[in-house]
């Protein structure tokens, strides 16, 4: 049976970053995902630390913040580690579909509910949404498209909004993927652009749901802006996420070109651990269970939605390696009184504690498994929802975990 250099469990941004880092360094990598991973759900822009206000330099802001949060995953990488990993991420997306920042600082971009959220790296299709001025903005939705409520967005952004339909194309009831696919067709986007131009009343920026094509979004953007005569930006919406799929597809393409193997659609049902080392994992595709072995392993299975953490009635468990989960003392301490309280729910800081090289650690901080590293949102001691740090944690720790694994 083949022995891999590295097995990455998880196909979200952390797992893919780890796999790519290792594969580009020449390692033979196997990526195992229970499903397609979280990028298909909510990968849009790259948050690093939204707590740092726009205008404040991110390097200083993050470094200061690490000083007051010594248990945070960022404390394992430092700002230098984050910055290096972000550069590597940006290199994966060369021009024209690039990820860019507004200088070394956060921008505020509109969400699918019409609020503004801080984020760092934006795909060029979202750039014009940063720092928008309500009077200059028109939000365009599609009649009958359930995943994007243009009216809600424009109401909250206090800008003008319209819903359009293109009878010739029968847009009613189409899914996000169907719309993205149509956008990849030049005649469609030109007709759409003309329809939007007809609705425009001097607005300089046009917000659309994030469906500006899967194959060539930069060309879609350029054509739309040319026909409409205004800048165009994508607004994230309900899953599935088209911008997230672009990221996933790009990683997969690069990984396969580098000789990595993908297994997708079946869970890891067991592991073999001997003397503090993982010797193999088992993947179950009924009626068969297959063992895969590697020198090194990276666990990047995400949180509750991806199956990386599992909530039983009274405690939270990690189902692959059965690692100890850092968590509140009891179920009564999981949540705050009100769901929409500004303070984070303690359950969201639950996760796997690690040593400096991201190996899972037990009490006292000693590593429990010497050839397993943990990356991404499954790590303990972050509040990525409130901090707006989800993608930054995934990229920085995925990158670092792969480097540590290769060093070992």
């Amino acid at each position: 049976m083949k022995r891999w250099d590295l097995i990455v469990i998880g196909t979200g941004l952390a797992g893919l970053t780890a796999a790519r880092t290792a594969a580009e360094a020449g390692a033979r990598v196997l990526v195992v995902g229970r499903g397609i991973g979280s990028l298909a759900l909510f990968g849009n822009s790259i948050d690093v630390l939204g707590e740092v206000p726009p205008g404040v330099n991110l390097d200083a802001g993050v470094s200061d913040w690490i000083g007051t949060h010594p248990g945070h995953p960022y404390a394992r990488t430092g700002w230098e580690g984050i910055a290096e990993a972000l550069v590597a991420f940006q290199e994966l997306f060369p021009s024209p579909y690039r990820f860019v920042a507004a200088g070394l600082t956060n921008s505020l971009v509109p969400t699918g509910t019409g609020t503004l959220r801080p984020t760092y790296l934006l795909p060029i299709t979202m750039r014009a949404g940063a720092g928008l001025v309500a009077e200059e903005t028109l939000v365009v939705g599609f009649r009958g498209f359930k995943d994007f409520q243009g009216d809600t967005v424009s109401l909250h952004l206090k800008c003008r909004g319209v819903n359009i339909s293109l009878p010739r194309y029968g847009l009613e009831g189409l899914t996000a993927l169907a719309l993205a696919r149509l956008m990849d067709e030049e005649p469609f986007r030109k007709s759409l652009g003309e329809a939007i131009r007809g609705q425009k009343a001097g607005e300089k920026r046009i917000g659309l749901p994030a469906i500006l094509g899967l194959c060539d979004p930069a060309a879609v953007l350029e054509d739309l802006e040319g026909v409409i005569g205004a800048r165009v930006f994508e607004i994230p919406m309900l899953p599935p996420s088209i911008p997230g799929l672009r990221i996933f597809n790009r990683f997969r393409e690069r990984l396969i070109a580098k000789g990595a193997t993908f297994l997708m659609g079946n869970p890891v049902t067991g592991v073999t651990v001997k003397g503090g080392r993982c010797e193999g994992i088992r993947v179950c595709n009924p009626p068969l269970e297959t063992e895969y072995r590697a020198e090194q392993y990276i666990l990047a299975t995400g949180r509750f939605l991806g199956g990386g953490l599992w909530a039983e009635m009274d405690r939270i468990v990690e189902p692959v390696f059965h690692l100890p989960v850092s968590q509140p003392a009891g179920r009564g301490d999981w949540f705050r009184e009100r769901f929409f309280q500004p303070e984070a729910h303690p359950i969201h800081a639950a996760g796997i504690a690690t040593d400096r090289s991201l190996r899972p650690s037990g009490e006292g901080g000693a590593p429990l498994l010497t050839n397993v590293r943990v990356a991404g949102s499954i790590l303990a001691n972050h509040q990525s929802i409130e901090e707006h740090s989800r993608e930054g944690i995934a990229i920085a720790t995925g990158y670092r975990a792969a480097q540590e694994a290769l060093k070992a």
Binding site: M1, K2, L30, R34, G35, I36, G37, S38, A40, L41, G170, E172, G173, L174, T175, A176, L177, A178, R181, C215, L238, P239, P240, S241, L245, N249, R252, E253, I256, A257, G259, T261, F262, L263, M264, G265, N266, P267, T269, V283, C284, N285, P286, P287, L288, E289, T290, E291, L305, G306, G307
Partner: protein
């Protein structure tokens, strides 16, 4: 590979495993091209909550699922979506009845041998415009669909009549060729035999029948079970004497390996599954165990590789790609488009042909962009569709690998 120790839990048809995350909507080829199919989330677990064995089916769109199984590979929650669809489709078609067209199409194995014997007369008829118009009008087999020509001698006849090479001391390997190789693409079988012999094996071809997947396609569970039982009684003696079995058709393989057991519950299915391998998967493994297993000579060729959906569902990575990369001079690019759109017999049906063609459009464009010398893919359905879409040479990977075998 070992038998899975525990059956999939909880109940396989439990729709409440679905958390409505919509990841599956990101990969469904049908929902992407037609609003008539609501997509896997709604068609599978969504509608399942409203289905009752005692009541008549109401969702006629269930027939539009192609059973590609991509939704299963994307789902993070382990919902057996395609199986829910299949069971609903079976119930719907049991109620509505299946008609002469389906009766004929799923029994192509019965008249395949005869058609091959008289292929000199049959093939011109299949190409004849009037005959195709008649098939279109009387049986609703779309006249735009190219009907694959038959070949004689069949693979089985060629194999029985040939001068077998010296076999003393060589391990045995059994080959499941499938119907299409036997009567329509004999060279795939010849190439498989040549490769296995070059890898040091004596090839046997046990008696076998259609795997039964066409019957699953029309929701005929009883018919599929019958085919499965027949094949198991024909194939089990081979595996019981300790001989491994390889298949070259990923759809036959998926049926034999993963549907006989978990879905159809046939006794002996697991015994067969543990000794059953995709031919490229088997050769890759052989290659790793023994450096000098098969040697390839240079073959300068620009190849585009397409991943069949059922290969994704087998979840064994891309073994054909790994082998092709061993051939000096072969330059492989990925046709990274999901689903060719044929869906087996789906694409022959008049009412579904437009969907099939629309799904294939992206693939056609991608082939045009890469402009390869040869297209390579493991599934006969994908090969048929790719030939129809592009008019180019489309091979099974084993054919290209056979052409690259070093002498001696």
């Amino acid at each position: 590979m070992t038998p899975a120790t525990e059956p999939r839990n909880p109940a396989r048809t439990l729709p409440d495993l679905c958390v409505r995350c919509a990841t599956c909507m990101a990969v469904c080829p049908v929902a992407r091209v037609t609003p008539r199919f609501p997509g896997p989330k709604q068609a599978g677990p969504g509608a399942q909550r409203f289905r009752s064995a005692a009541e008549a089916s109401v969702d006629d769109w269930i027939e539009l699922c192609t059973a590609c199984r991509l939704c299963d590979t994307a789902c993070p929650a382990g919902v057996p979506i395609s199986e829910l669809n299949l069971l609903a489709k079976a119930k719907f078609l049991d109620e509505r009845g299946r008609g002469l067209r389906d009766w004929l199409l799923v029994r192509s194995d019965l008249f395949g041998e005869l058609a091959a014997r008289y292929s000199r007369f049959v093939n011109p008829l299949l190409q004849n415009r009037t005959v195709r118009w008649l098939l279109d009008r009387t049986l609703a087999i779309d006249r735009r669909r190219m009907l694959p020509p038959y070949e004689y001698p069949t693979f089985r006849k060629w194999f029985a009549d040939r001068q077998a090479p010296e076999s003393a001391g060589r391990p045995r390997i059994a080959y499941f060729h499938g119907c299409f190789t036997n009567t329509n693409e004999v060279d795939v079988g010849k190439a498989a035999v040549a490769l296995l012999e070059a890898a040091g094996f004596t090839v046997t071809v046990p008696p076998q029948r259609c795997c039964g997947i066409p019957r699953l396609g029309v929701g005929d569970l009883r018919g599929a079970r019958e085919m499965g039982q027949r094949n198991l009684s024909l194939l089990l003696p081979t595996v019981r004497e300790g001989t491994d079995l390889v298949f070259s058709s990923t759809s036959c393989g998926m049926m034999l390996r993963h549907e006989y057991g978990p879905l159809l519950n046939l006794p002996g299915a697991q015994e067969l599954a543990v000794r059953l391998f995709d031919i490229c998967e088997f050769l890759v493994r052989r290659q790793e165990e023994n450096d000098a297993a098969v040697r390839f000579k240079p073959l300068p060729r620009k190849v585009a590789y397409f991943t069949p959906c059922h290969l994704r569902a087998l979840n064994i990575g891309l073994p054909a790609l790994e082998l092709l990369r061993l051939v000096p001079g072969v330059e492989v690019a990925m046709l990274d488009t999901e689903c060719c759109g044929l869906g087996g017999l789906y694409g022959f049906r008049k009412e579904k042909y437009p969907i099939s063609e629309e799904i294939g459009k992206g693939l056609k464009k991608e082939v045009g962009r890469l402009d390869p010398d040869t297209i390579v893919t493991d599934c006969e359905g994908c090969r048929m569709q790719l030939r129809a879409l592009t008019g180019r040479e489309v091979l099974h990977p084993v054919q290209l690998l056979r052409d690259a075998l070093a002498e001696g």
